[in-house]
């Protein structure tokens, strides 16, 4: 999030800050299947908390427990310091946008959005203005009178979003809120969401399959795998210092190199292939160990001649070039057949680019470019 340096938003680093939501050793079983496994997690007020993870890892289950549709099998969930196990969904200051939208088919778009407001203590006379505001926000003014079956999938998704936003709850749960929108509308809505968040101070928990989205909107990102949270950190930490191969691989593109690290005074020397010079990398490790070295393609420089003063360099041949418009990814094959990806910005027109297929090139990177992972 864009924050000026003096008011960095980081309640998770502040020991005096009380979390809004607190999962304590929460386990959720469906029969003998464990969907959430001994999960402990704090989410702070005004956070924009993103849940990322493969299909079936328990993201929706986590949300449903917060909304009150599922009870933890063991463990407690606290909202504002109070155990909410026995608070029914309609008495929680929590609104959820369902992954399936769950729009009322017999009600118009307008009535769907007004549904929650009519059930609240809002003055009847104020409801139309609020609904109109939501319609404008989600660009649905033209469709107010239509029934859900008369609008497109993306429009339905926006109705679901508008309906959950309308009551301006303390905590808003969005289960893949923008998946069906085109890229442009998605970006605009992301910024709208961040705007709403800043204006209302609502806490957002958002599930997304789009890591770019998580990176853009989230104050913190949690990467989940099979009912467990693998890492919770700010987007840049998640990206730059993943704590495991799983996280490194899940977020963005990465080169993973397995080897053995000999650690000396904060520097790991990783031997990883016969006949190749070892990789040197700064690390927090203290003992020698088997490891996986992870380095992002954009941290690797590709040159025609052997670079000087670079701690890590390897020679290879261009196997493939993926042109992505603003950037290109070069797949470079090493003599032993391993392929390393390197990215460069396309600051020149295609015709003037320096490498082509089967060219011999040098890949190089610094000793702080990658991380040494043992998990």
């Amino acid at each position: 999030m864009a924050q000026s340096p003096q008011d960095v938003f980081a309640p998770w680093d502040d020991a005096t800050e009380k979390p809004l939501i607190r999962f304590r050793n929460v386990t959720k079983n469906f029969g003998d299947f464990t969907a959430i496994d001994d999960l402990t997690l704090d989410i702070y007020a005004k956070e924009f908390f993103a849940l990322l993870g493969p299909s079936g890892c328990g993201k929706t289950t986590l949300m449903r427990m917060l909304a009150g549709f599922e009870k933890p099998t063991t463990g407690t969930i606290e909202l504002d310091g109070k155990d909410i196990a026995n608070v029914p969904p309609n008495q929680r200051a929590v609104n959820m946008m369902f992954q399936s939208y769950a729009l009322f088919p017999h009600l118009s778009v307008y009535e769907n959005i007004a549904f929650g407001l009519k059930r609240s203590d809002m003055d009847k006379a104020d409801i139309p203005a609020r609904v109109d505001e939501m319609l404008r926000l989600t660009r649905l003014q033209k469709f107010a009178k239509r029934k859900p079956h008369q609008i497109s999938g993306g429009q339905r998704q926006r109705v679901a979003l508008a309906r959950s936003l309308a009551k301006a709850p303390k905590l808003l749960l969005l289960d893949e809120p923008l998946g069906a929108l085109d890229k442009k509308l998605r970006h605009e809505t992301q910024f709208e969401l961040m705007d709403i968040q800043e204006k209302t101070g609502t806490t957002f928990v958002i599930v997304t399959h789009d890591q770019e989205e998580a990176m853009t909107v989230a104050s913190r990102v949690a990467v989940m795998d099979a009912g467990v949270i693998v890492q919770v950190a700010t987007p840049d930490r998640i990206y730059e210092t993943p704590n495991s191969v799983y996280v490194a691989d899940f977020i963005g593109e990465v080169n993973l190199i397995e080897g053995h690290a000999a650690v000396d005074n904060g520097v790991a020397t990783i031997s990883w292939a016969e006949g190749q010079p070892p990789i040197t990398a700064k690390t927090d490790l203290t003992a020698d160990t088997q490891c996986t070295y992870a380095v992002r393609p954009e941290k690797i420089t590709i040159t025609q001649h052997e670079p000087q003063d670079r701690p890590n360099k390897i020679k290879g041949a261009v196997l493939d070039i993926a042109y992505l418009g603003n950037i290109s990814t070069y797949h470079v094959e090493l003599p032993d057949g391993k392929v390393i990806k390197a990215q460069t910005a396309n600051d020149r027109r295609i015709a003037r680019r320096s490498f082509t297929w089967e060219d011999t090139v040098w890949l190089s990177w610094t000793d702080t470019a990658g991380v040494v992972l043992t998990a």
Partner: protein, 296 residues
């Protein structure tokens, strides 16, 4: 051409099985009673050619309709049938809705079994099932014996041969017609809608009235018509279970036809019954049409 054939088949069907018999009934309703075989006249005599046809039409008349409107027995019978059919439909709804609701909420693997149980009675003769109710409802019947046995009542109740027995009979007989359409409507309802309603601040009861009930509406309407329309003309149930004071048009029709052998009056009763039914039938079609539009 192929398209035309496809459309023509149902229309031919409708023509052969509905329009033709109906026209025959209408023609009899305009005839007069006669001691002959068949017991009405005039008969169309084509041997005299065009004159015969003209003579035939000249003899058809509205006398039976005038007779029916003149005698208040018939009006009372129609009104009483309407009343009984309406009350019976409402009672069937009261019994049928909870059954349909429970079926729709039952675990997926149980549903076909429950559906079977609802349809199963249809596999035995309707007549036998109604007779069985005589055994249950009579003064010496199982129901009275049971209630006497557990001390609920001191003297047997007279249920058989009253309107109550007719209501029980209609509710029992037409229950599946109520349950199945409501079940169909409830079954395709997504449970997450109720969760969404609760999430937005509804209690369970409010969620029922604001979400479940409106979504079941078309099923309820369909079920009510499917029960109301046949019970209006019902004959077997009132004549077997009802008393002498149970006045239903179906019974009147039967008596005109078989006891009095007055085919023309019986046909007139039938034609008017159909005219009365056309209104609910059209409303029913409208409801179905609307439902198809929202589904589509």
């Amino acid at each position: 051409m192929r398209r035309f054939t496809l459309i023509a088949i149902p229309y031919l069907w409708l023509f052969a099985l509905f329009v033709v018999p109906f026209l025959i009934v209408v023609r009899i309703s305009f005839s007069y009673y006669e001691l002959s075989i068949p017991p009405y006249g005039p008969q169309l005599d084509l041997s005299t050619g065009w004159d015969g046809v003209k003579a035939f039409f000249a003899e058809l008349n509205w006398d039976n309709y005038a007779f029916l409107t003149g005698d208040d027995l018939y009006w009372k019978a129609y009104l009483s049938s309407l009343k009984i059919a309406l009350i019976a439909t409402f009672l069937t709804l009261l019994v049928g809705f909870p059954i349909a609701y429970a079926m729709a909420k039952a675990a997926e693997e149980w549903r076909p079994m429950l559906m079977m149980l609802i349809i199963l009675p249809f596999w035995t003769s309707f007549l036998i099932r109604v007779y069985a109710w005589i055994g249950i409802l009579g003064t010496e019947g199982y129901l009275n014996q049971l209630m006497l046995g557990i001390g609920l009542i001191d003297a047997p109740l007279t249920i058989l041969n009253t309107n109550v027995a007719v209501y029980i009979g209609i509710v029992y007989t037409y229950l599946p017609f109520m349950v199945l359409p409501i079940y169909a409507a409830l079954e395709k309802m997504d449970d997450s809608l109720l969760e969404a309603a609760e999430d937005l601040g509804c209690t369970r009861t409010q969620a029922f009235w604001l979400v479940t009930a409106p979504l079941a509406k078309s099923g309820i309407i369909a079920g009510c018509f499917l029960v109301f329309i046949p019970s209006l003309g019902e004959f077997v149930i009132p004549s077997l279970l009802g008393g002498s004071d149970t006045l239903m048009i179906g019974k009147v029709l039967w008596e005109e036809f078989f006891s009095n052998r007055d085919w023309p009056v019986a046909s007139t009763v039938a034609v008017i019954l159909l005219l009365i039914l056309i209104i609910p039938i059209i409303l029913f079609q409208r409801n179905e049409q609307k439902q198809r539009e929202t589904d589509g």
